[in-house]
């Protein structure tokens, strides 16, 4: 008898979180049994309203996972259905059950694929195992949402976060935000790709890239998965350079594949690698940031700056972001929604810049109409790259709704 209990206890699987301070998550415990069918014990702060729905959903998910006999304890803190499904699936997998079965929530209709050079001023990081932050992430107006599987997720929770993020990509409306996922460093990141790529995120961030081979490994893995699932939609890559070696290899990495759409920089890890302290002016990372900008532009892709970690200091963020744009970056990471507006303002072309660009474009158009080979504005000759930059700036201003 006791040995049977022990044997059963080995297979108990648990996933998710509950407790007084937990919101929008659920803790699920699955104890497989030999007989007796499914026995669900449910506690929920929304039981009077969704108790029946939670039970029905749990039964459906367990059936899809092929579970016939188990004691299932659900302690719900107002989790949404996509979270409940993910936590049940993770608990089952941890109990050694349902291997290879995905229980997928209905997919919202997807938006058009994102363009390689899409506007990427701001990308809001959302911890991948904290469902309460997913739900309204897109409301704050960032250009992109990053569901993070790397640093914000505890090593023991990687499997659960992967399933949760996968479900979120299907079921959460991220509005017009580009849907990004930061996977773990390879080779762990390859497992992330298996779960994530079938849901066609718009872009994958690759952390701690130091060689072009790492990019190609990811590209090959993604191609393999896409072939299996018959996916043709593009999924872009954004390698993160966050070590001295990575910075040295910046151009090699930036130009490793056509799938790479942008190159970015990880300030925390880079300064740790150098063994220096971060300063307000960023002198210690100036070279690295310039290198990222140059390598990205040489490869014809976007250069995107690091996150700014001090959420409380809006003025320092503004200074950093203005400087960042001046250096040639096209955007930054955000760790809190309050940073988004500040960053958007900092990366917006100034009124004077817009006015100048408007004149240049007008002069160019006029020259074209007259069949003139040389474009001039006032006493100045205007070169083709200048015209191109002016047009790009006007397009940006248009996208940022800055044109009257």
């Amino acid at each position: 008898m006791s040995s049977r209990i022990e044997a059963a206890a080995k297979h108990v699987g648990e996933a998710g979180h509950s407790g007084q301070e937990i919101r929008s998550d659920v803790q699920v415990l699955i104890e497989p049994r030999q007989l007796g069918g499914i026995d669900i014990e449910l506690e929920s702060r929304v039981k009077p309203y969704y108790g029946d729905a939670i039970r029905r959903q749990a039964e459906d998910v367990l059936e899809s996972l092929g579970l016939r006999h188990a004691r299932v304890v659900i302690h719900d803190e107002g989790a949404l259905p996509f979270v409940i499904a993910a936590r049940i699936e993770s608990a089952a997998r941890r109990a050694g059950l349902g291997e290879g079965t995905r229980v997928l929530p209905n997919r919202l209709s997807s938006l058009a694929p994102s363009a390689r050079d899409r506007m990427r001023r701001s990308r809001l990081y959302v911890p991948g195992n904290e469902p309460k932050y997913f739900i309204n992430a897109a409301l704050h107006g960032a250009d992109a949402i990053i569901l993070d599987l790397e640093d914000s997720v505890h090593p023991d929770e990687k499997d659960a976060a992967r399933v949760l993020v996968r479900n979120a990509l299907r079921a959460v409306d991220f509005l017009r935000c580009e849907r990004m996922v930061r996977i773990n460093q390879l080779p762990l990141g390859l497992k992330d790709l298996e779960e994530i790529v079938p849901e066609s995120p718009d872009l994958i961030l690759l952390p701690k890239v130091e060689t072009s081979r790492q990019v190609l490994d990811a590209v090959e893995k993604m191609a393999e998965i896409k072939a299996i699932f018959g996916i043709t939609r593009r999924t872009w890559l954004m390698p993160i350079l966050e070590s001295a070696l990575g910075i040295e290899k910046a151009y090699e990495i930036a130009s490793a594949s056509d799938e790479v759409a942008a190159l970015t920089f990880g300030l925390e890890d880079y300064t740790a690698d150098l063994g220096v302290v971060k300063t307000a002016t960023g002198a210690e990372s100036l070279f690295a940031r310039q290198r990222v900008v140059n390598a990205a532009h040489a490869a014809g892709i976007q250069a995107i700056d690091s996150v700014f970690g001090d959420v409380g200091d809006v003025d320092a963020l503004r200074t950093w972001a203005v400087n960042s744009r001046a250096m040639g970056f096209e955007g930054m990471g955000c760790v809190h929604p309050s940073q988004i507006t500040v960053i958007h303002e900092a990366f917006a072309p100034t009124a004077a810049e817009i006015e100048q660009a408007r004149k240049i474009v007008a002069a160019y158009n006029e020259a074209q109409e007259k069949g003139l080979g040389v474009v001039s504005l006032g006493s100045k000759m205007i070169d083709a790259p200048v015209v191109q930059r002016a047009r790009k700036l006007m397009a940006q201003a248009e996208a940022m709704q800055l044109l009257k």
């Binding site: 009077p48 409301l139 809190h336």
Partner: protein, 522 residues
């Protein structure tokens, strides 16, 4: 009073079932906004003579028990207390427990609000000292009431409604017990000074003028005169000195916390942007915002926009907090008209700044007066637990029917030029925008705008506001549209929780009519 008898229910104009009799008194069901015409004269306390009071003005007695005996405390009397010391108040329980020691039964406790720290009142209800509470209940007292354990029926009123009920003789206070942070032996009281300073004592004003007997309880007795005085000693029968009237750490908070939730900050910012884009934020305007996390954050956003636009308010209405005090001190408003004082900055300001003025439920809120300040405020920002698609709102009960909040000034504030509910569209998985509110506290015709993190809904009755925001880039949507989106996110409409069929409390409208019932749960 006997255990709640069978009571006949009737359907009021809002379609809600309400009892015809409550605690032995016939009620008028809600008739609609502005439909119940009052008649007759106000209540009056007995005529007194100075001959019966000490000529030297010294009304001190040795303790509260003695004072209660001298006031002629008997079974079944109404004892009132006030919540200006909030969760730190010790005086109300002191008085009720003194009554218990005397052996009194069946009291009606008539607080301006009750707080969780007063949960010992449950023992007094169990033992029959208190029959029922007329005043807001939440936490353990709220649960006690909604579980149907209170013998009499609870009556929930707004701050203005409480004044109206006293003045219109709906409630006759036998003995008012007033906690006074500073008082003199004559009974003049002030709240701005003393170790238990709390700011305004406005909630106790009606009681001081209409009650048969008034006892002032202080832990800071000063020689006559206590200047300034907000309560006039001429209304006071006895003065009692105690070691402490309250726990100062719970009377006022050091700093009220602005919400850090990104969603709530977004709501706060949208409210401020709405006031700007609707043209309500203009020179000489006025607004009221409470002390909730969203309301505090709203003041911060509005302040920045006022500065950018070079706009100044004529007055703002408190609950005052550090954030309103900053507006005053930076010259962004001429006055704070303060109903209660929430934090230490508010207390400091009201004691030292002549432009920070204490008001009362009479001046601010009383519906049965010759007007009141609430309707003169351009915009008010309020919370709610539920709103329906017709803008009807609930502020007292959770969706499962349990009492969660008092009404406070909420109902009275609906008279403002533009009433804004700032609410998340759902909490955890609980939709806030619902088919039918659990308890009706505010008629939708008085609620103009609902601001959620997913969009701003303007009441279709307010075409003027809809016109005013033409050209604005804010996310305007209809309530049904937001509701449908939330139901999709939450995985369908919630089940309707089962409610009991026995009313345990009623919600009064500002005119004294019965707007809705609170039903026994579980």
């Amino acid at each position: 009073m006997a255990i709640l008898e069978e009571t006949k229910l009737t359907r009021n104009t809002a379609g809600r079932m309400v009892p015809e009799m409550v605690n032995g008194r016939r009620q008028v069901p809600y008739l609609g906004v502005g439909k119940n015409r009052p008649a007759g004269n106000q209540a009056g306390p007995p005529i007194r003579t100075a001959d019966d009071y000490p000529a030297d003005g010294d009304k001190r007695v040795v303790d509260l028990e003695t004072a209660l005996r001298k006031c002629g405390l008997r079974d079944g009397m109404v004892i009132s207390s006030h919540h200006h010391l909030r969760d730190g108040d010790r005086v109300a329980l002191m008085a009720l427990e003194a009554a218990a020691r005397i052996g009194i039964k069946d009291l009606v406790w008539f607080p301006s609000a009750s707080f969780p720290s007063q949960k010992r009142a449950i023992d007094l209800m169990d033992s029959g000292v208190i029959d029922h509470i007329e005043g807001s209940m939440n936490g353990p007292l709220g649960d006690y009431c909604t579980q149907g354990k209170m013998r009499g029926m609870g009556i929930l009123r707004s701050h203005g409604g409480r004044w109206q009920a006293i003045q219109d003789s709906e409630v006759h206070i036998d003995i008012a017990v007033i906690a006074a942070p500073t008082a003199d032996p004559f009974g003049n009281c002030d709240g701005s000074r003393g170790k238990s300073a709390c700011g305004s004592l406005g909630f106790a004003l009606a009681d001081s003028t209409y009650a048969d007997h008034v006892i002032a309880v202080t832990d800071n007795l000063v020689s006559f005169p206590c200047v300034p005085w907000q309560i006039q000693g001429n209304h006071v029968d006895y003065v009692v000195t105690v070691d402490s009237i309250g726990d100062s750490s719970k009377i006022v908070s050091g700093t009220m916390q602005i919400t850090r939730s990104p969603d709530r900050l977004r709501i706060a910012e949208l409210v401020a942007l709405f006031l700007r884009d609707a043209g309500i934020m203009r020179n000489g305007f006025s607004f009221q915002a409470g002390a909730g996390g969203i309301a505090l954050a709203f003041v911060g956003y509005l302040k920045r926009m006022m500065k950018e636009a070079g706009v100044k308010a004529r007055f703002v209405r408190g609950g005052s907090t550090k954030y309103l005090v900053e507006l005053l001190e930076e010259g962004l408003t001429d006055y704070i008209l303060d109903g209660q004082t929430f934090d230490l900055d508010g207390v400091r300001s009201i004691a030292s700044n002549s432009r920070h003025v204490a008001t009362s439920p009479f001046t601010s809120y009383n519906y049965h007066g010759k007007g009141n300040f609430a309707s003169m405020v351009d915009a008010v920002v309020l919370g709610a637990t539920e709103v329906d698609a017709n803008f009807n709102a609930n502020v007292v009960t959770h969706s499962d029917g349990r009492l969660l909040h008092g009404i406070g000034g909420w109902q009275n504030c609906l008279a403002a030029g533009c009433t804004i509910l700032a609410v998340p569209s759902f909490r955890d998985r609980m939709p806030v925008i619902v088919d039918e509110v659990t308890t009706l506290c505010g008629p939708g015709e008085l609620i103009d705008v609902v601001v959620t993190e997913r969009g701003i809904a303007i009441n279709p009755r307010r075409q003027d506001l809809i016109d005013a925001v033409k050209g604005s880039r804010l996310p305007f949507r209809s309530l049904p549209e937001i509701k449908a989106e939330v139901e999709r996110i939450c995985g369908g409409k919630p089940q309707r929780p089962k409610r009991g069929d026995r009313p345990v409390a009623i919600v009064k409208w500002v005119d004294g009519t019965v707007l809705d019932s609170v039903w026994q749960v579980g």
